[in-house]
């Protein structure tokens, strides 16, 4: 970034709530259904219908707001936001204008080892619109269709203050919000399905200036990479305009994924006066302070607190703690494994190493795997009590992953128990010394390294089941004794 300008970015993050039913009707919230099957007269905006508030959506919103350190408004109301678009069935969206559900919060996020804070201006609840489908169904490529399955799905809008100073900060903050919403389990934040998206605004100002420059806006993005590229492009484009003494025009710009460039979007979709006014079909609602406290008490430990606790309580490195708290499910898995096995570092190593590898290969999330924390702690225990070696354990885990059987079962079935019986190992050791007189003599002659070969031969003969330490000891005794 050019040294003479400071970049100022603000984000409006939109998250669809994962309530069972829609915000104002009883239709199921379900992604991927056939077009217009998750609809009813209410979410289709038929004449005469009325919205009725889904109380679960309010509870979900409060959970999110508390997770984002917001204050909850004691009195809140809905408003109508008026604009025409074919995917908006009523010709207005029921949203919140001057009395949002929550306000005045903040999110701390990590970037390059530094903790940064973004203030949240407000959070409001609104209904989502339908979706235009551009498909050639009737043989006329100029026709578009509307799918109202998404219409009236509860949508949370989280508006940040313009506290972000670079595209990288914007993405880090956006990721942090996603993590928190997933943690409080109010949204599945599925970016591909469009249930987690954002609008970004960006402006430049001379370094040291307190006044905000003219901003441009990017709408409806559901990819971290696209937002990053688009913001970086806008940053350069605005700097170029300012360098040439020009003026940035306040407008919404379109981002073209293929060219990596943004373009002006001057159309009638742009000039909006939303003519907000209070929604007369819904009564303003009051949120009881006791109810807020009840929700707060039931809130899970958030990622930042959890990371801190993992480092302090379990003594694992910060790097591990960050990796393990990437999702709530992974953190839960680690927490339980560490507790059951009393070996936090071992648990962390297994989860970050072998288990993550297996999950990646299978393309599934930890919560969908057959392996449980009980399995993993049992595996760690088997190593510790020398039933199996670490090497054998590495071969046991994929079987547990595959079958869901306990490690003990697999060790028994495959006869993988480590041979720790000195007499059983002793005869094999004797045999190996006899069969390998050369290396045995080398060791006796002071070539310490030669013992490695002999250990390997014993392990080979026992198909890895011999306790390696015991093998080592016995060999030394026999050769020097």
């Amino acid at each position: 970034m050019a040294y003479k300008y400071e970049t100022v970015i603000g984000l409006e993050v939109h998250a669809e709530l994962s309530t069972n039913s829609k915000l104002f009707c009883n239709c199921e919230v379900k992604f991927g259904s056939e077009a217009n099957t998750q609809t009813c007269p209410i979410c289709l905006g038929m004449p005469g219908v009325l919205p009725v508030m889904n109380q679960r959506a309010v509870e979900f919103s409060i959970r999110a707001a508390l997770g984002l350190n917001c204050k909850i408004a004691s009195y809140s109301k809905f408003d109508r936001k008026n604009y025409f678009y074919p995917d908006l069935p009523k010709g207005y969206q029921i949203s919140q204008y001057d009395l949002p559900l929550a306000y005045d919060g903040h999110v701390d996020y990590e970037l390059d080892g530094e903790t940064k804070r973004v203030r949240i201006n407000r959070i409001h609840l609104e209904e989502d619109a339908g979706k235009l489908v551009h498909a050639d169904v009737t043989g006329n490529p100029n026709q578009s269709y509307v799918d109202f399955n998404r219409s009236c799905v509860p949508l949370l809008e989280i508006v940040s203050e313009p506290d972000l100073r670079s595209p990288a900060e914007a993405i880090a903050y956006w990721r942090a919000v996603k993590e928190i919403l997933e943690y409080v389990e109010i949204s599945d934040c599925n970016m591909e399905e469009g249930s987690f998206r954002c609008d970004a605004n960006i402006s430049l100002r001379p370094v040291g200036s307190k006044e905000l420059g003219t901003r441009t806006e990017l709408k409806n993005k559901n990819s971290f990479q696209h937002v990053m590229t688009a913001l970086e492009y806008e940053e350069k484009r605005q700097a170029r305009i300012l360098d040439q003494g020009g003026k940035v025009i306040q407008e919404t710009v379109l981002f073209d994924i293929n060219t990596g460039r943004t373009a002006s979007m001057r159309s009638k979709e742009e000039a909006h006066d939303y003519r907000y006014f209070p929604e007369p079909d819904l009564v303003p609602f009051e949120v009881d302070a006791a109810e807020v406290e009840r929700i707060r008490a039931a809130l899970p430990e958030l990622p930042a607190e959890r990371r801190k606790r993992f480092v302090e309580e379990y003594g694992i490195p910060t790097y591990d703690a960050e990796f393990l708290t990437a999702t709530r499910q992974m953190a839960d898995f680690f927490d339980e494994t560490a507790r059951l096995s009393s070996d936090p570092k071992g648990s962390s190593n297994w989860i970050m190493g072998d288990l993550s590898g297996l999950l990646n290969n299978a393309g599934i999330e930890i919560q969908d795997a057959k392996v449980t924390p009980a399995h993993l702690s049992e595996l760690i225990e088997l190593i510790k009590n020398q039933t199996i070696s670490g090497k054998i354990a590495k071969s046991v885990l994929p079987d547990v992953f595959e079958t869901g059987k306990t490690p003990k079962q697999i060790v028994e079935e495959k006869g993988l128990s480590q041979i720790s019986d000195a007499s059983a190992i002793e005869s094999i050791v004797d045999q190996v010394i006899e069969e390998n007189p050369g290396p045995a003599q080398d060791y006796r002659d002071g070539k310490q390294k030669a013992i490695g070969f002999l250990v390997g031969q014993v392990m080979k003969a026992t198909r890895g089941k011999a306790n390696p330490q015991m093998v080592n000891q016995l060999l030394q005794q026999k050769l020097t004794g």
């Binding site: 919205p51 009523k90 010709g91 578009s144 003519r275 006014f277 007369p280 819904l282």
Partner: protein, 490 residues
């Protein structure tokens, strides 16, 4: 039939019909056929119906007779009715008297309609009205104007003009109307029938095609107060589909008709007898108040100083809400849709240009303007503040009196075409009914005499949820007078 005064079945009130049906003196099929014949005889002259559902009516009448025979009847079982075409009827065209919805068939019943159907009332058809409820004369119907049965050269009032005209002409024993600024009371007054606008929230608005959501309310238009009590009993009560519907228990309205109003403190607001009022209206309403005094009411003159602001306030709030409520008619999902070569935006614009009539477009534009950025505070916000004052005015007055008596309209039914070129003059017809909607109060229109041969209505206004009291005042008055029994000679 000797025991009954009415010589024709179509002349029966709902309560009379209910009694005869219960006593098995008449069948619902006979009664329904009589009403359908009456519609056939008079509707070409008054045009009260947009749709007549004759086959469905006979089917429902047959079902009702079976229910009555099985001893499974409620008071309205087998009684025919008309429903204003602003209320959704499952499987039956609900046009809102608009080209936009000329062929629209709802997939569900409005709650009020569903409740009447459950009670076994028989649907004769759908009533004509001003397009989307916007008007005071039923001249704004996109299809045809309704004519006043007392003088077919005159309007029946509006917007529920088809409903009031049908009940007046005997083309329906009762009807369900809607009232946003006087749309039940004013046509009831012009047609000489009894109408009740309940407290906002008393009857569910679910399935009432929204005009102005914070003002709209469903209510009965009938021959007398006793019928209104019967009908309100069936449709009132909380509805989980309407967040603004009131949870309060529904009293027994018929039991409230004691015929005794002694000691009732009845207020007469001086602002409701302003200059420009027809002398005949003033005389009839004054005589009615004297009559109520003679029946035991204590008359007190009161003042509602904000009355003069109600009209201006209404014509900001109602159009504002309507500008949003009618935004859904874009030709995408249902109803009229302009087909042309243009793009999506042009299709939506042309749909609205051709689908809506001039008064609807006028109100949408008024509302869009009042809500637009830079004008919101001066118009919409200010109007809401005035609305609070109007509400407070009523609240203060109801500390001193139990109910108010006033004219429904300063005028009687006017000639068709007389006011269509002058919207403001048309709007003034509702000057005494609008304040009630602004305050969400219940009010009735009760026939109380004639001016130049045309009916005059007495308006009774009560505090929040005082329908039982208003019905009793009207009933007591109707026990002592014959105005509500006067029928047009059509």
């Amino acid at each position: 039939m000797a025991a009954h005064a009415a010589s024709e079945l179509w002349q029966l009130s709902a309560a009379e019909a209910s009694r005869l049906l219960a006593d098995r003196e008449i069948s619902s099929v006979e009664l329904t056929d009589a009403c359908l014949e009456r519609i056939a005889a008079v509707d070409d002259r008054i045009s009260a119906y947009i749709t007549v559902t004759a086959d469905l009516a006979r089917q429902q009448a047959t079902d009702a007779d079976r229910r009555i025979a099985a001893g499974d009847a409620s008071p309205l079982t087998g009684v025919p009715m008309q429903i204003k075409d602003l209320l959704c009827t499952n499987g039956i065209a609900t046009t809102c008297a608009s080209r936009m919805l000329a062929e629209y068939i709802p997939v569900y019943d409005a709650t009020a309609v569903a409740r009447l159907r459950e009670h076994g009332a028989v649907l004769l058809g759908k009533g004509n009205m001003d397009e989307f409820g916007m008007g005071s004369s039923t001249e704004n119907s996109a299809f045809f104007p309704t004519r006043n049965p007392w003088d077919t050269g005159r309007v029946p009032g509006g917007s529920s003009g088809g409903s009031a005209a049908a009940v007046s002409a005997g083309a329906a024993p009762f009807a369900l109307g809607t009232d946003t600024g006087g749309s039940i009371r004013q046509p009831a007054s012009f047609c000489g029938v009894t109408g009740l606008k309940p407290t906002y929230g008393r009857v569910s608005r679910y399935g009432l095609v929204a005009y102005a959501s914070s003002l709209d309310q469903v209510g009965p238009i009938a021959r007398d107060a006793a019928d209104c009590a019967l009908i309100l009993q069936s449709i009132a009560g909380h509805d989980s589909r309407d967040a603004t519907s009131l949870p309060d228990a529904v009293p027994d309205y018929s039991a409230a008709l004691t015929g005794d109003i002694s000691g009732l403190r009845l207020g007469v607001p001086s602002e409701y007898f302003a200059e420009g009022m027809d002398a005949g209206v003033r005389a009839a309403v004054t005589a009615a108040i004297d009559q109520l005094a003679a029946l035991g009411a204590e008359i007190r003159e009161v003042s509602l100083p904000t009355t003069q602001y109600a009209l201006a306030c209404y014509y900001i709030i109602a159009p504002s809400e309507c500008s949003a409520n009618l935004a859904r008619y874009d030709g995408v999902k249902y109803g009229y849709s302009h087909q042309g070569d243009g793009d999506m935006w042009e299709a939506m614009e042309r749909t609205r240009q051709h689908g809506f009539g001039p008064e609807v477009k006028r109100r949408i534009m008024l509302g869009a303007f009042a809500l637009s950025s830079g004008y919101y505070d001066a118009y919409y916000h200010k109007a809401q503040q005035v609305r609070t004052l109007i509400r407070q005015d009523f609240a203060h007055v109801f500390e001193e009196v139990d109910a108010l008596a006033a004219p429904v309209s300063p005028v009687v039914a006017f000639p068709i075409g007389e006011r269509t070129d002058d919207p403001v003059r048309m709007y003034l017809v509702d000057v005494y009914t609008l304040p009630v909607n602004m305050a969400g109060l219940p009010a009735m229109s009760v026939p109380c005499g004639f001016s130049n041969g045309l009916p005059v209505g007495l308006q009774l206004i009560g505090p929040h949820l005082s329908e039982d009291r208003l019905l009793n005042i009207a009933h007591t008055y109707q026990q002592a007078t014959e105005w509500h029994r006067e029928r047009p000679g059509i």
